[in-house]
């Protein structure tokens, strides 16, 4: 189950396409739920975000992703695979920094599990992000888990 989770730079269209292409070989699957997290050009006072710089505790990210995958596969009996890709390094506003792709026999569990995986990523992955503004100032971000 272990595979590369961390992507240096953005999760590109090519990476996303290759992940989707792989699905056609899994003919037992009937539904896929895909979540893409994109860097948003938030405005903080007079400053607009132009990019986010991600850093991570890589060893722990791998362990936590494996734990999340096991938890989802044991909690959703129709789910067959959980793919998680997360950026580290710099990702520009408008680019994708997170991919979650959950596949199962049918749509309902795939959709529910996908949403659950995104929640668990925010709660448990040791990843940090720093907003880079258009004026090149920088600020650490804290997740709002609500």
């Amino acid at each position: 189950m272990t595979e590369d989770v961390l992507v240096y730079g953005p999760v590109t269209r090519e990476i996303i396409s290759s992940r989707l292409d792989m699905l056609s070989e899994r003919k037992e699957l009937g539904g896929h739920s895909l979540f893409l997290g994109q860097v948003r050009a938030d405005v903080n006072g007079q400053r607009r975000v132009k990019a986010i710089e991600y850093s991570a505790y890589e060893e722990m990210v791998k362990k936590e992703v494996e734990a999340i995958q096991k938890e989802i596969l044991s909690g959703f009996n129709d789910v067959r695979s959980v793919v998680i890709l997360h950026s580290i390094g710099t990702v520009m506003a408008g680019e994708v920094s997170l991919l979650v792709l959950v596949s199962g026999g049918h749509r309902q569990q795939a959709i529910e599990a996908c949403s659950r995986v995104v929640d668990l990523i925010k709660e448990r992955l040791p990843v940090w992000k720093k907003e880079i503004f258009e004026d090149d100032s920088r600020e650490w971000v804290r997740n709002n888990l609500a």
Partner: protein
Amino acid sequence: MEIRVLFFGVLAEVTQTMFRHYRDVISYSDLINRIRDEFPEMEHYNYRVAVNSEIVNEDPGLKNMDEVAFMPPFAGG
């Protein structure tokens, strides 16, 4: 014992280091005290501690060459 210590996120900036070795560590509390003495500004930040990638809430009983990470609140996704 010798302990590898990692600092992440804002704590890497506060301590101006991401990685360092501590030698002759007697215990977990000895390590924590040494880090607090060396980087008193850390007390202004929230953080959790992981030992060998597992979050700990109390003294885990360190072993030689364990890896101890100081981690500010996560912000992934």
